[in-house]
Subunit: 411 residues, 2 copies
Amino acid sequence: MPLVNEHYLTLTGAYLFPEIDRRVRAFQAARPDLADRIIRCGIGDVVGPIVPAVARAMHEAIDELADPARFRGYPPANGYEFLRHAIAEHDFRGRGAPIEDDEIFVSDGSKGDCGHVLEILGPDNVVALPDPVYPVYVDTNVMAGRTGPAIDGGGYEGLRTLPATPENEFVPDPPSDRVDIAYLCFPNNPTGATIDHDGLRRWVDWANANESLILFDAAYADFTRDPSLPRSIFEIPEARTCAIEFRSFSKHGAFTGVRCGYTVVPKDLHGRTRGGERIPMHRLWMRRWTTRANGVSWPVQRGAAALYSPEGRSQTEAVIDHYMTNARMLRDGCAALGWHAHGGENAPFVWVACPRCEDSWTFFERILHEAQVVITPGLGFGRLGEGFIRISAFNHRDRILEVVERLRGMC
Amino acid sequence: MPLVNEHYLTLTGAYLFPEIDRRVRAFQAARPDLADRIIRCGIGDVVGPIVPAVARAMHEAIDELADPARFRGYPPANGYEFLRHAIAEHDFRGRGAPIEDDEIFVSDGSKGDCGHVLEILGPDNVVALPDPVYPVYVDTNVMAGRTGPAIDGGGYEGLRTLPATPENEFVPDPPSDRVDIAYLCFPNNPTGATIDHDGLRRWVDWANANESLILFDAAYADFTRDPSLPRSIFEIPEARTCAIEFRSFSKHGAFTGVRCGYTVVPKDLHGRTRGGERIPMHRLWMRRWTTRANGVSWPVQRGAAALYSPEGRSQTEAVIDHYMTNARMLRDGCAALGWHAHGGENAPFVWVACPRCEDSWTFFERILHEAQVVITPGLGFGRLGEGFIRISAFNHRDRILEVVERLRGMC
């Protein structure tokens, strides 16, 4: 019988969102009278729709696939040039971040890329992750055998923690001990925190001084409202020698069901062999994609490119305005209840301290039972997430108003 | 500096098809007068278009995404039930293969899945691969550290070989020594060979007797014309305890640019830990997908489901007829030149012995220079592929006729 990857057996419990789904279904089974009242502010799925510019581009792409003279077969493994160019121009060079078209790798979503990147890295790197953190970073490290066993109360041996707490405004400090790879996420999921240029520069300087790699998740960059804040780590040009960045169209583009994102791997970034040879990470990542996949769907890439057209950008701005107004309403609503609410200003998440010293799953269950609202318990994001909940702003306006109203009714 | 995955450095040369592209570009640069004459019968990309039933379903799906009332966000990690049901019903249960809907996992292509499957398997399995073979199986094993160093002349230490030669009609025998995992591909890429029920039963019996796992690649199953031949390993029901199957919509559905495939993991299939505990592979694979990805694009899944509608099946049959007529013409054309041609009857590839004792890259270059036709050199598929070339039938009819004509002109 073939041997399995036993690291999977180290994983504790189900991945967070399936566990939340299980609890919601259990509630609905126990209280069928309330089953239809559920409002979901948990997983952070968008309510759509895709904007007209995207829909039109995708329709045209399908017409092309249906036309023998314009049919497209296998896409390039790293994405079509027209999309990589639009990305590099608008998201990077237009903001002073020196990124070339061929440093962009288009994929079917940034969640995947966060895990795939471990494939080109060796097993013996010292890895540091924020706490609280997007659980995918942790679980993919466990599955790849980069950790020891689970620790009682949360986390895994072998991973270093970068504490993100109210005391540091949820912006971790660079570690003082040896770390090869550090994950950062700004605007942050789950806390909604942001990092400014000075803060980001401190991290880049630390990484270059220590020859460490920063895995920078900027999936929510487009929700940044404050023009003084960086949207990409490459707005610090020195990050070209120390960072990989992950980006997503899922939320601002309503692409959760369309599936597209991208990863930036600068050609100046190197790793090393045990023998000390410097290896360009760009070469390894390109090899990963040419060997392991066949690129992203043609209509999807055409739809993604339409997000960068003047029409697409204008339509998307309205979507971002909508969600960020939701976020402000949720934050203000929580604050009005005397709850300590963070985030929600440059990120579509509000991070709320549980009142009455409740733990986060208890507060999750109380909100589910009393208000029929699904949020995400902070413990699902790590030990330091305990005592908090995350509320997602991705919903219709009437639902958000109803959530605020129902939360008020709980208190 | 972070340590890289040094197994990538074990890989010899570029992945086959980029290397072919490089040589074609070099020829075009050297002979600009002939650059436009190139006909590609190499990589096996389809010429399209997608059939009308698929185009209509994809258009409708985009209209849904653009409609707030019908928008779809994150898909299920394992694919929508309507698609998994259509697959299980038509490709399996309707052919006597006992596969349930939730044993189907929809993905963005079977090339990806062939590599992903190694993630749930341990590093110390003994792996056997056919020779010649689809290079992705080999390269993904190398990248995952499942081999030793490269061997002069092709291949890697640590991998067992299952010879596929004219003597065994390109159907390898089950190995007599200990093997934990064996790859099989029928209808075969690159040789075009098929396996019958008795042959497949021998493999299933071997795997069950030895508690081995068969990774069965049936990406070309829909090109099987002979109704007596199995299309799935699960037409031998005992394969439920010993096999994983990979399937693709790329070729018969013209989905190379749409991106969709699926993998079948029966719930009766187990692996084991070093300590001897039996672990259901279905559980590991489900965990892989829920943690590492967010499912497949909504319009893509709707398009794939349309392939199973009566209209879609009828339209797709015509596509298959077209390519299989091409394959017969190529095979007959080669045979008329006195070349030994295999395959092409139940698979869209013709496998031709190089005349004049040429090696396969030499014959590749000669066909490129003399006929401006791109084929795939057999050595790219393994040491035992030396002395053969693969010609793909995926082209327009006039191109195939022109290829036959030009090959005749070479001799």
